[in-house]
Amino acid sequence: MSLMVVIVALAELLDGETRANMLLQKPNWYQQKRQCCAQLMKGRTMQKYSGFGLLKHSLSHHENWQRVWRNPTPKKHYDAIIVGGGGHGLATAYYMAKEHGMTNIAVVEKGYLGGGNTARNTTIIRSNYLWDEAAHLYEHSLKLWEGLAQDLNYNLMFSQRGVLNLGHTLQDMRDIERRVSANRLNGIDSQLLNGQEVQDLVPILDCSKNARYPVMGASWQPRGGTARHDAVAWGYARAADALGVDLLQQTEVTGIRRKDGAVCGVETNRGFISTDKVACVAAGNSGTLAKMVGMELPLESHPLQAMVSEPIKPILDTVVMSNHVHGYVSQSDKGDLVIGAGIDGYLGYGQRGSFNILEHTISAIIEMFPIFSRVRLNRAWGGIVDTCPDACPIISKTHIKGLYFNCGWGTGGFKATPGSGHVFAHTVAKDEPHPLAKAFDVNRFTSGKLIDEHGAAGVAH
């Protein structure tokens, strides 16, 4: 482990970041990176992270690392306030500052940054959604993921180890063919695998006929994978802060003040803050915010459980998901098997669900991977997912001028973080929906133009 740092640092020191780059023949890469960094530096000087930096700081016993973000006092006025300091909110702030030049903005978070579902999910990233609208949005997000660590100068450990969605029945296979075929025509790297190909890819998966629901095939998205969830929030926070965004933690919005049908500020536990735009990115708490202005949203908040095993030596290199037996698993870089379950059917804000869901999920994992039977479960927890009737998010303006909502990501929010922030930043900054966000207007529940992704989102992830 430590050897790695030394090697990377030396590599960077000896011939800089360009070396590997030259190998890869991407001549404009270095320039791009410099531009990006320059942009980041506009707000204030952001200490650049690198392996060499680590070595350098080790000489001063790491006493001189800069704060990753400031702890500012709220200003009297911001051009926009983002309510919710999770991954989506922080990404929104970052892109508003970076791409729309809005740097006099604040993120208001009632707890700590990235403390909600960003901190609790199972980190799966993919874009193999069925319907065009969803597929384009998630693919937009996936493309952003692919350059995000460099963009933010923060290693998010985005690991494109591929995602398998297993099929166990003939109808599963029809649905998979339909989705894969749609993905392909939408430019998304989905493939259809037969049972043998699945077995070759994941030798430890039980693909035998003896299984209660034998594996018939799968969809495979090689560009999918996982990332380090906390790092996403911290990376965005650090970069947004560097661009001048105020990150106000321990600050709770208690009211949204309006004047002449438009937003004019928010009441908080730290006093009133005036603003022209309020962008709500509060997941399970969106309903509470909506209620402050007398709005209702078609959302329900449910417990979603996740769990990890004790760390074991690497044995599973891809993400394996199954709607039918209802469970999914990947292995983290620490060695934990990261396992997801279905949502509990009842409303719940308790960050915990019922035990039978956990039992069933582990059964499902053993159905797929009988060799994990003697591995041990270390920890289980719950998040609060805000779900829409069609399993797609709401990214929407409202009838109140300057009030915007981005919510309802259900079980699939983490993978969307960059895309969600990016299109929402556009929507808020320009006061008109980003082209990719248009279909996710709240009015679809009235017109009936729902985007039913229950199939693609069938197992919570």
Binding site: G287, E296, P298, Y346, L347, G348, Y349, S354, F355, T446
Partner: protein, 97 residues
């Protein structure tokens, strides 16, 4: 794991016997054709999502197969009462405030 008093079987049963069915007391509009699309969508999709007391419908699926209502706290998961279909809750959020 909730422990639920079935008002029909008149005893506590394990959660596994039940299925939740969302918000209680949603009445189907008597004349759907007279509703605007907005009003119809309210009935179809918009639900209360309180952080606190919630009146919700459950069915004793593996037991007596009866639908019934429950007043439950969505943070503590405490069940304050269960009551039969057609009855009104005796505890509401206003009571506890």
């Amino acid at each position: 794991m909730l422990h639920i008093y079935c008002p029909y079987c008149e005893e506590y049963r394990e959660e596994e016997e039940f299925h939740p069915h969302g918000q209680a007391h949603i009445v189907r509009p008597l004349a759907p054709e007279s509703l605007t699309d907005e009003e119809w969508s309210q009935y179809l999709f918009f639900r209360k999502n309180p952080r606190g007391l919630h009146h919700e419908m459950w069915v004793h699926a593996a037991g007596c197969r009866k639908f019934f209502n429950m007043t439950r706290h969505t943070v503590t998961y405490k069940i304050l009462e269960t009551y039969k279909m057609g009855q009104q809750p005796s505890i509401t959020a206003e009571d506890t405030q």
